[in-house]
Symmetry: D2
Subunit: 449 residues, 4 copies
């Protein structure tokens, strides 16, 4: 059977056909559940079909995982690391194709698609080193002729609910879980068809807590960039553009709020509006495109609804708020919208929520304290950034009375995390940490002996 379009034929290289079983159980592909269709967000036409797991498939899969875990846990960690290395190498040989698939299904531009797969590969390399460093401790005992130890053992099977916007990288982060003793049961291409509603997080946590299970949450962000009066404005504007429009505003770390010191406010706003006008919108797979479509038709509708609310709140509050650029969808078969800049009060209710698209709220502040207060005034606590050259401001920003986010950047955008550091945030963002530092401990259980 052939794909509808010739341009999809590269998918055969990845083992993907026009119709695919969606789950991989004990070495075999199957899928007796409902059929779902993956569509291209640039034109809403079908790419391929996937048959999902039935409940019975799911139970079979879990049983297979459970059996495998018993063996896998006893494999020495450095040997598990060697398998992870081979996974990374396998991906490396298909980097371009895989990146193209991510772009095709998700709608992000090609360099972003490839970059995401590269992040998965980097995580693999990192995990290989880590496989010899899942260290416990020998702690001095206060009792003569006794020893005290702290050791880490694998948790066992780990379930992953990945996100539509980083289908591949999020799975990569969960490699620790692989590393430390589980079998991933999700098939990779299937995952990019899923969409995680962030509100579900809290429900998941409650359910898991009831059985005293462990939960690692990375939910929504509502990330601000602060531009101080002494900032390098060119650098700041370029960074805001990248952080607000990149991935069509569908990153967890997308900049959604821009706080500008009053003395440079108009200057920054003017430059930013100018920059927004240059953004090339179109097919994410085409060279030169900066902004692709939103992921689904529903996202596009959601964007429209959001704009309506923004307009109404801007009015009611009489804060002079208004849409300065964009604020409309684009007529096309795809899910394209125009990148949008809104002047609004930090107190507007809509500012507290995460509208998952390229909408940037711009606000004015008078001093650092006010800027930090606005930064911290939303329920979410993922990423944040300040642009300034003054060390005293930087250290306040980083300190106990500074940003309350998990990621606290300086002179770089809110997006663009590195895998060596811990990724995640506080408050409604959920408190989980992925990637570097001691994040691996979350996939293990600790014993003191």
């Amino acid at each position: 059977m052939d794909f509808d379009k010739k341009e999809y034929e590269f998918l055969f290289e990845l083992g993907i056909a026009p119709s695919n079983p969606g789950c991989f159980i004990d070495g075999t592909w199957k899928g007796n559940g409902p059929l779902v269709t993956s569509v291209n967000p640039a034109n809403n036409q079908k790419i391929a079909d996937v048959s999902e797991a039935s409940m019975e498939d799911y139970e079979d899969g879990l049983k297979a995982c459970s059996d495998a875990a018993k063996i896998w846990m006893k494999v020495p960690a450095p040997r598990r690391g060697e398998i992870v290395r081979q996974i990374g190498d396998a991906l490396r040989t298909k980097l371009q194709h895989f990146g193209r698939l991510v772009s095709l299904e998700m709608g992000k531009i090609l360099p972003e698609g490839i970059g995401e797969v590269q992040e998965f590969i980097d995580m693999c390399d990192y995990a290989v080193g880590l496989s010899r460093q899942l260290n416990g401790s020998i702690i001095p005992s206060e009792r003569p002729d006794h020893m005290m130890f702290e050791m880490w053992n694998p948790l066992g099977i780990v379930g992953v609910i990945t996100a539509f916007n980083f289908p591949c990288a999020v799975l990569g982060e969960s490699l620790y879980s692989h590393l430390v003793g589980i079998y991933l049961m999700e098939c990779m291409y299937c995952i990019s068809l899923r969409q995680l509603c962030c509100l579900v997080g809290l429900m998941v946590q409650h359910t898991v807590n009831e059985r005293f299970g462990k939960c690692l949450l990375e939910l929504s962000g509502n990330n601000a960039i602060i531009i101080m009066d002494d900032a390098d404005i060119k650098l700041a504007v370029r960074s805001v553009l990248f952080a607000a429009v990149g991935t069509a505003g569908q990153r967890c770390t997308t900049c959604r709020r821009l706080l500008v010191h009053e003395s440079i406010y108009q200057n920054v706003l003017d430059q930013l509006i100018e920059a927004y006008k240059q953004v090339t919108i179109g097919d994410p797979l085409e060279k030169g495109t900066l902004l692709g479509p939103l992921h689904t038709r529903a996202s596009r509708e959601n964007f429209e609804k959001g704009i309506d609310i923004i307009k109404s709140q801007a009015c009611i509050l009489f804060h002079g708020g208004k849409i300065r650029v964009g604020g409309s969808v684009r007529e096309s078969e795809g899910n394209f919208v125009n990148p949008t800049i809104v002047e609004i009060s930090p107190n507007a209710a809509v500012v507290k929520e995460e509208l998952f698209g390229p909408v940037l709220y711009v606000m004015k502040f008078q001093n650092l304290e006010e800027a930090i207060e606005i930064n911290n005034s939303v329920p979410q606590g993922l990423s944040s950034s300040i642009f300034t050259g003054r060390p005293d401001i930087i250290f306040k920003w980083l300190g106990p009375h500074g940003s309350d986010c998990g990621i606290v950047n300086v002179n770089i955008p809110t997006s663009g995390a590195e895998i060596g550091g811990a990724f995640g945030g506080e408050k409604a963002t959920g408190g989980g940490r992925e990637a570097g530092s001691d994040s691996w401990k979350q996939y293990m259980r600790r014993s003191t002996w």
Copy 2:
């Protein structure tokens, strides 16, 4: 005003009078809420009265904390550590009196009361050192001319619900929170009047989660000791006695289940019964007493109900289960009960629950795998211990297929943790860790910059 009994006059040394305000707010003692009476569990007679906080007091206290936290967080950590050192030194000068108070109110024997206060003092000393080691990291960045950091800032105000059985030490563990930037608002002597129902934990967690707050839970334990056929039986029996009867079975780490290899089962049981018969029961403040009363009259009634259930389940299951020693309360003014040994099947429902008193369930097993399975078959996962001299057994016990508890001991009882290690457990025990290792991180928020 005088105390009812002359023997309570040492309380004046601790600043405690026959009637006391129960909360300490912004430098002043007050308490406009309901009056509670602290009674001596050895005779159920009044020691002193405490007036608790009214709702308004509570709000005042929280406001005072909040104001203080702003200043306190900016005090350099080593200077906060110096205050903690002074707290420890202040307790050191009143160690004997304070230990006597703990014994008097809680009902534990005097060496246990003093030991508990000493643990608080040790935590202070430990925290002083820690105040110069709340280290973040500098992590190599993948971007030229960039640096990546991970830093820890204080969380702010921390609320502590302490436990009646370790009123003082639990508060001591929370010193980290003090250390890292809060004001403790509980007054100490008042705390020993509280009782925490462990089932409340889950409810607390859900409530805190709803506002995406952080929760550190240390709930119930249902701790087993395994005696292998090659064990040093004398050492094991002495350890079981200590762990099952100590603090009248009201420790989190009390041994509640004893698993004995079938080949030495009868021998161990006989020796243990003999040992139980020697236990001196009486006033916990009197020298030579090994077993004091339960903490409240309600606990004593609970014990009676528990024994009834045990008897019924022992019958129904036809597992040969029966009460071998004890199984009854003692007639007295106080809350005394007899230390109890029960032979029972590991499958009896009652074995899965924590009866908070000196009741020990004894069971037989055939091999290590079975013993570990039984050990792990309860909802709780706090402490566990094995007695054996064989390294291969020890390493299985400690490994991924071994004990699923947070504390995994070898040749020492389930009780008796050291402050240098992380204290806490998995599953229904709640997952929190206190005292040593990296437990301090739970009182802080992490930022990656």
Copy 3:
């Protein structure tokens, strides 16, 4: 027997008499070696006599240490920590007297003498915490059913050669050695009579290496402060004064070289000369004194010789170098000299050496690269500092092409280390590290099993 002066009577409080045995062996004070006399550097009059160890005393002491070490090493580290805590508390009760002794013998002003003893006490507190954290590691093994560990055991007896300028604090740093398993055999008051010639360090190292012993060296410093054109000049000048004149220029971390950007050179120099003129010179025990005497008459002579060399080199090189302030000794019974500022070329040979007194070389530079090059152009590599408000300069200064010293400060003087960090330097400074971080490992031996 009485002291020569009534003002020395406070020494009785410290257990010091006009004549004292100088070594403490197995619980007893003795000293059958040569008599040395401790003199007051402010007037070169006798304070007290000390009889040093004979060779036989030394051997006895070593034998006693060796016997004690066998027992001491087996005492659990937290209990060794408790002894260290008691040492700190004992010093705390005599802080004022002890600080006065340090000032009296060494010649530093009283707040410095007290500060030094306080540093010892702080080290004790820090070491107590550390006694529960001398952690080894459990490392994942690549072989099935194997475990890998890394553990730290005490080295055994450690010999300490302390320095006349920090007699007490250096000994305090060596508390780790106490902590990790040795017996200090030096008596404390005796130590302040010793003088360590820094050149001896290399010889010591070679001798110890020949028997493959371990050596921890902290030798000379030749520390520079760089003032960039954007610096807060008032703050910088105050810091230079403190770092160059404090302890009469006899700190390891004394600022000996001042590098000033050409655009602010004259301004900084003028302000500094003005500040030097305000320095109060006199009895270190008197309130208000900022500059006491050098430690010995020999030091004063050395200072004179140094000034002669400076003058000759300043001439020969025609670099416009000249003495701008000071450059002479003060006529008195004591070892007083005038604090000195010299303008000189960075290439003058005398600048590469450490003249252990209050002499500051001032030089001009054109840009950061040149300043760093000058900073790194001396054999020593202990401390260094830059004054600037620009993050890009700060990060260059800290990076791989920045300062090559062990201590790399920003906007604080070269002196003033904290015990939580590792103290020591590279190159001719010897490479050893004391106080915080993982310095304790130097007193232990590592085993991988």
Copy 4:
């Protein structure tokens, strides 16, 4: 030009010709120094020629390194790690050929040659992970509004003197240096022609110390295995055979001394002699060979001299010492010797030295204390091992009064280190540590700011 033997033609695959320039400078192979010939130790016939560096080549190389280091140090560590990953992958594709070269030149059997290259590759993988974890610390400052940091910067150029017995792996360990900022100037195949005389180590150290450079020494070992009376004798004998005869006794971690409890002494000795008789000696490249030749003709002569001394000392001491197996060279074109077992007193002078060949000294002991004393009675302190099933013995062995070596094994041989742990030893072994744990710090300089 062709190789003398057809079987050497695989070397072309590695870029090696019958005649080769020996140094790689700034991208070009050259070598204007003396010609050295690499010979096959199995027949002492020529493999290939290498022209070494002239002094001028050396200076050119150092200049090129120095220029490269300036750039390389500024490349972000994770990108340096990526280069290391590619080096590992390049080796992976030539693993078999490279392993064959190592065996051919060094004389070790093929699985050992391949294993050694694999170790290099593993080190690469490990270093990749490490490139994101060369972490410094943020340490709480005691001063308000100050921060304290500890950071690690690359040292710069690192010179490596590798060893003939592990030409490849030792170079691999030095990958950290590559990783942390240097350019390796040694060409790889050339290295296997070098021989390091261990006695040179001390001289190197003194020379480097004179200029206050850093030195990381891994010198000789004189490693003992202790067999307790309760040991698994079959396992122990197999382990001793592997550790004493493997690599023809030319490993740093070769077992040179066997200490056996008197109660099982004769039994162990008999089994060991039996095992030695089964050892297949011959061409190391041939399947089934267990023992190849010594590396050089000189080593073979040295072996003969050693045997003469052993005989004389065995006689003089009347300790009943005698050669039980081997003790002679094999007549052949190669450097073959017979594996040798000697019964001897632990006090014999020859036992204190490292005879770099397959000679095993066997001794008797009465109890653990005596065994440990013998273990520790030699100048070297690299590796050691005990065979026992008793935890109390194991913990004594590992503790402060146990083995004084850097590697302290239990129930595995003295050889066989893993890269995740720190490799190296104390006393005359030199104190350096390579491979895992925090060994990377030795290639960096620390700054506290």
